[in-house]
Amino acid sequence: MPFALLASTFATVFLAELGDKTQLAIVTISGTSTRPGAVFAGSSAALVLASLLGAAAGGSLSAVIPTNALQLAASVGFLVIGARLIQRSSSPEAEESSAD
């Protein structure tokens, strides 16, 4: 196992991810969720699967997958989660909402 390549990929991807919008979303979702374990499992699985596709498809990924359409779908997801959080934060704490 060429350690240099492993270490350089680890550093590149870790730094690329740090402060990336995905990580901000993970911080937000885990901070407001009663299920941090599920959030960790969900985000790790998603990231690993996305990188599996990335590593396997190499250069052809953007040709294969409409990245812009995916980002549009992701942005809708972010907006929905954000709107629900804002709505829940403004509604009185009275009703015990089960944070998903």
Partner: protein, 116 residues
């Protein structure tokens, strides 16, 4: 299949809901993320996709662990309602920023400048 939702099903249900919500959102955002693809492409050309995959996965798992721990810490230090409002605003801002990038990508800009 018990008709009325017993507590354990409810707990499993909300674990599943949290897992699914996070998975879908992060997966869509990450797959469309050009920076991550660039990082992978850079290493993938090394001809050792397995090593690249292992390195990238370890990095991604650690970065999501950092994210989750940071989220939990915030949940401890900040009043829940304030955290929820801030979190909601941040997510909406991220959504708008992501949507803008996607739309810009879809609409071929005349000058065709590579928008970072």
């Amino acid at each position: 299949m018990s008709s009325e939702p017993d507590p354990s099903a409810n707990r499993a249900g909300s674990w599943g809901a949290a897992f699914l919500t996070t998975f879908t959102t992060v997966f869509l955002a990450e797959l469309g993320d050009k920076t991550q693809l660039a990082a992978l492409l850079l290493s993938a050309q090394s001809g050792r996709p397995v090593v690249v995959f292992v390195g990238a996965s370890l990095a991604l798992i650690s970065s999501s662990l950092v994210g989750v721990l940071l989220g939990r810490w915030l949940a401890k230090v900040m009043p829940p309602q304030q955290l929820e409002r801030l979190a909601g605003i941040l997510m909406v801002a991220l959504g708008l920023w992501l949507g803008r990038q996607a739309v810009l990508g879809l609409v071929p800009s005349p000058s065709d400048l590579p928008l970072s």
